[in-house]
Symmetry: none
Amino acid sequence: MSNSVQPESPVQSVDRAVTILEILASRGEAGVTEIAAELGVHKSTAFRLVAALELRGLVEQPGERGKYRLGLGLVRLAGAATVRLDLSQQSRPVCERLAVAVAETINVAILDVDAAVNIEQVLGPSAITTHNWVGQRTPLHATSSGKVLLAYLPEPALTQRLAEPLERFTARTVTDPARLRKQLDAARKDGYACTVEELETGLNAVAAPVFAHNGQVVAAISASGPSFRLAKPRLAEVAKAVRDAAGEVSGRLGYVPAR
Amino acid sequence: MSNSVQPESPVQSVDRAVTILEILASRGEAGVTEIAAELGVHKSTAFRLVAALELRGLVEQPGERGKYRLGLGLVRLAGAATVRLDLSQQSRPVCERLAVAVAETINVAILDVDAAVNIEQVLGPSAITTHNWVGQRTPLHATSSGKVLLAYLPEPALTQRLAEPLERFTARTVTDPARLRKQLDAARKDGYACTVEELETGLNAVAAPVFAHNGQVVAAISASGPSFRLAKPRLAEVAKAVRDAAGEVSGRLGYVPAR
DNA sequence: CATAATGTTGCGCCATGAGCAACAGCGTGC
DNA sequence: GCACGCTGTTGCTCATGGCGCAACATTATG
């Protein structure tokens, strides 16, 4: 029976496990007998719940026996949430200004296994479409954000990605891995990547990397628009603005560029 | 059946719940059907596991329906672990020096619902007893650390605390709420609180607050000893040393005092 | 507007989570 | 050094909590 002032949990053992985390958060350390007493369960029950949390790193045991405390796995999980929250908060105002400055649709995308996932979108004043990209997964090789995220992958991960066939979406989609690699090299050098009608006919985009405090690329900011508008030489101007905006967000996340 | 490369979890549904947290950490957001697919369970199972986590704040749902993401409850739990780790690390050397300087038993206590819990103890060279206070819960109104932690509670929480009868431990225990409030006012003004034979006959103590970077009181540092030794006027000298030590720990935690 | 997909709920069943008893290990007092 | 008490851990059995199924509600898409 859970706390009487709360609605009953649909999964009692998950509820108990969370209570254990809270006990450890408030006390710092606790033993099995102590946790069992506070939970109102048998100590073998408490022991198994703690062991399940320990197996996944949410709880750790400093010694071979005895007291338990919260584990680094919990801090890592929370860290993932904090980075995402921070990224959204820091990027929002920068993207709003960028959308006005370049008058195109701005997106923030993060890497999710084998796709770029858009987590934020700001429409420019000239936006033709109100297509909502947020939540959508887009192919890495055929989007500007995807190319940026690929460019900063560790080499083994990149090799593995490019070992699989690259799907063609338009006549201009880059499906040759060697040619794509050259584009990624250029992206690292230029500080931005472009796509020209590679995902959809008539759609161009340019993206730049967002670095976290530790130098890792955590996101890409992109501007996209119709090919007739977002083409040379204006594409280079927009690219520069996007790169500067991404740099500003990186700075807000604590990134100090190497000189 | 859990991941075949890991030892089997003693509580399958806790294991699944943690996997859900990891899925949300890596993807940012995910829906019930997506989570169910990745867990290899029915979507009603996934739904209930997510609901159990949501009930406790580890997961949240931005809209009324649809995608889920990691909740602030997780960040709070991890934050508790991080603050505690930092507090212990920063306070340890300061408390060791203080113990030598004042030759009494030094403790660090944090607030846990309705009690002060000691998380750190350093014995002075003149310690008569080797009584271990670590892990013990002590009453707020009858200990110096407790009075400090009470002094910095938000007013509603303090009012609620003082609405309940205050237990008498010795003839000198303060059980009148109005008199205790006056002592708390003095504690805020002086920067420390004292108890004189209020918890145990023959035991005196003095404590000062430790502030976190955001100005909140996260702990109290205290010196305790026998009444015959830790009495006026020496008590005032020890109080000053404890206040300075607590100030140093506060500074190490990023607190900048108001001028 | 119809259809498909996703999220949510009630219900019955069984696999899992729970408690019991016992054991192993450690800390403490004599 | 030993006995005792306490805590942590494990094997076993069984009752129940967690699960999947079917159905419904809601939303998104063509």
